[in-house]
Symmetry: C2
C-alpha cells in the first residue's frame, strides 16, 4: 500500500518539522539566539543532528519557517472568524477583534520569556511575510467594502486606506496588558472607521 | 585658547560623524548591506579608513547610530511642533499630523531606493529605540490628558491606551502614497480618539 505508506511518511515529516519549529522558538525566547545551536535544537526536539540538517540548514532558516507558519496560522484564524458571521458589520468587528487578540496574546506569550523581545526582533519581513500582509490588507479591504454598503463606514476615505489604518491601529494590542484593553482598542478603532464629525 | 580649540575639534568630529551616518544610510539603501564595506564608506565620506575605525567598529554600528540620530531628530521635530501651539486640542492634532508626515515622508524617501526596505529591516529595536519610544508614548499621553480636560477626548479609555492607539494607527502613513492620504489618516485617528457612539 504505497499511498498509505507515503501518507505516513508525510505525516511523520510534518510532525518532525512542527516539533523543530516549536522547540526552536521556545529555546530562542528562553536563552537568546546566541545560545541556541543546531545540536541543542536536535537534542531538545528528540531527533538526530544529521536528521535536523536534512530539514534546515541553520537556526535562522528554522526561525524563518516558524514565522511563516505563525502568519499562516493567523490568516487561517481570521478567515475562520470571518466565515462564522454573515452580517457585514458584525463580520468586520469580529475580524478586527480576532486580529487585536492575536497581537495581544502573542506578546504576552513571548514577554514572559527572558529573550522574548529578541525573538521578535529576529523575525525580518521577507517575501512570505510581505505576501501574507498583502493578503491581510485585501481581507480587511473587502470586509470594509461590504460594511460600507450597509452605510456603517465613513465614505471620505477609501477602503484601502481604512484597511491600512485598522491593521496598524490594532497592532497596538501588542503593547496592552489585558484582553479587556484589546477590546477597548477595537472600539476606538471602529469609531475611527465610522466617523461622526 | 584651549576652549575654542576644543570646540573646533568637537564640531569637526560631529561633522565627520554626521557625514559618515548619511553616507552609510544612502549606500545601504542604494546597494544593499552585503555590498557596503567600511572601505567604501570611508571612500565615499572622504575620510581615511583608519579614521573611520576610530569612530565605528563596523557597518552595523554605523546604521545603529544613524537610526538613533533619526529618532532623536523626529522627537525634536515633534517637540517643536508641540511647543508652537497653545490650545490643547490643536496641539494634539498638530503633533499627530507631524508624526504621520514623518512616517509618510520617511518611507517615500527610502522606497525610491532599490534596497530601501532592506535598510528598514536592518534597524533593530534596541535600548535607544525603546527609550525613544517610551518618550514618544509619554509625550502623546500628556497631550491626550491636556486635550481630555477640554472634553475633546473620550473618557472610556485611559490616555495611556489612547496614546498607544495613536502611535500605531499613524504608522499606517508609511504605507500611504501621498501627504493628502496622511492627513485623512490623521482625521480617522482623531475620530477614534473622540468617540461619538
Amino acid at each position: 500500500m504505497p499511498k498509505l505508506w507515503n501518507e505516513t511518511i508525510e505525516a511523520h515529516r510534518r510532525a518532525v518539522r512542527d516539533a523543530t519549529l516549536d522547540t526552536t522558538a521556545t529555546l530562542v525566547a528562553e536563552r537568546g539566539i546566541a545560545s541556541v545551536t543546531m545540536s541543542l535544537i536536535a537534542e531538545k526536539t528528540g531527533i538526530g543532528r544529521a536528521t535536523l540538517y536534512k530539514y534546515f540548514p541553520d537556526v535562522e532558516a528554522i526561525l524563518s519557517a516558524w514565522h511563516e507558519r505563525q502568519i499562516a496560522g493567523h490568516l487561517q484564524q481570521l478567515t475562520e472568524a470571518r466565515d462564522k458571521v454573515a452580517d457585514p458589520s458584525e463580520r468586520l468587528e469580529t475580524v478586527l477583534r480576532a486580529y487585536a487578540l492575536i497581537h495581544q496574546r502573542r506578546v504576552r506569550h513571548h514577554q514572559n520569556q527572558p529573550h522574548g523581545s529578541e525573538l521578535a526582533a529576529l523575525l525580518h519581513p521577507d517575501e512570505h511575510v510581505a505576501r501574507a500582509q498583502q493578503h491581510l490588507r485585501d481581507m480587511f479591504r473587502d470586509l470594509l467594502v461590504d460594511a460600507a454598503r450597509q452605510g456603517d463606514i465613513r465614505g471620505d476615505v477609501t477602503p484601502e486606506e481604512l484597511a491600512s489604518y485598522c491593521l496598524h491601529a490594532l497592532t497596538a494590542a501588542s503593547t496592552l496588558p489585558s484582553e479587556a484593553a484589546a477590546h477597548r482598542l477595537v472600539a476606538v478603532t471602529l469609531d475611527g472607521l465610522r466617523s461622526a464629525h
